[in-house]
Symmetry: C6
């Protein structure tokens, strides 16, 4: 049941914040896919949460948490002389 | 479907905490936009959450999480001799 | 629409933990204000969440998240020899 | 309205993890008190959340977040040679 | 009312990740116990959340947050040369 | 009641991000198992949350939090010269 890849390219490292953000979205979606492997059902559920204000906010919360990890893994893309 | 930019200017670095906070709000909104690309529907949903106390609180939670990452990326705007 | 100041004094640095906590509360409230600019509606919503146990808990969660960032920015007000 | 003290003793530093945990509980409760200053209403709300499984879990989440900050401020009570 | 011990052994330090995880569960449960001291009521509430999918997920979220603190306090059990 | 192993192999260290992600999923599931030890009931609950959009999002949030800890424990798999 857990045989889908959960981390694309098996790495948290990205070139840019934009790519890091896209990775955060993918990580979040892959957990949904792992939990509900049926594509047809996921499609129906997307219809549900795309039209529900509270769920849209909750998706944002999950992506924000994934992104925090990715951003730290990339040392926030090293633009500051953080030490 | 993922072709909108998710990180404005492709950077987490801002001049000030105020700009960092504005970026946090934008990051949160762009995930909503990615998940519900239809502008008309988003407008309706905004009406919903702008008048729902629990949703307003939840939006605050999401922005707080995004801001935590941005603030760390900027080394909290370095006003203390942290090191 | 985003023209209110989101970070009072444009700084996360405070003299004391108490002031840091007050700042956390303000940051959280300013996101509510940004999302629902109508003062009359916010007043009605305050009445709602002030009398709803779950919402009071959720407000606490949001303030706790904001405070985590502020406390880190202030190096936890430096009372320990952290380094 | 914000005139109650939000951080007892104006410090995050405690002698022990146990005291740190008690402080986390107090910080969480003081935000509830700030948001709903009426003691009688708070008493009624306590009756509500003390008997609601989901609210008890949510209180745990808020305390956990406050405690994370306090524990870091105390450098996790310095029992390990972390560096 | 706050006279129960909130941190077993008054320490976050454990020998192993497994013991750290057990401590995270205990910390979460002790907040429930503090908030609802009546054992009979807690027993009824356990029956509720043990059979409610959303509450089981929420419990997992709380334990995850407690564990994050404990794991950091133990320097993630020092298996890596983290520097 | 707490006699199941909560951390497989009693370690947070994994070879790769992919394995770290799988561990995050396992940690989250083991808390569900600890809280609801009856396999038949868990099976019914899985049916519930696999078809509920909000619960799928909440599962993602919990896994994201577990993963944050695991990723930090592995120093984000050391691909960057972070220091």
């Amino acid at each position: 049941m857990d045989t889908i890849a959960l981390v694309p390219n098996n790495s948290l490292i990205t070139e840019t914040p934009e790519e890091g953000r896209q990775l955060a979205v993918k990580l979040a979606r892959l957990i949904v896919k792992l939990t509900q492997p049926d594509e047809e059902k996921r499609k129906q559920l997307r219809e549900v949460y795309g039209n529900d204000a509270m769920m849209l906010i909750a998706i944002g919360q999950t992506v924000a948490t994934e992104f925090a990890t990715i951003a730290a893994a990339n040392n926030y893309w090293k633009e500051l002389g953080n030490e």
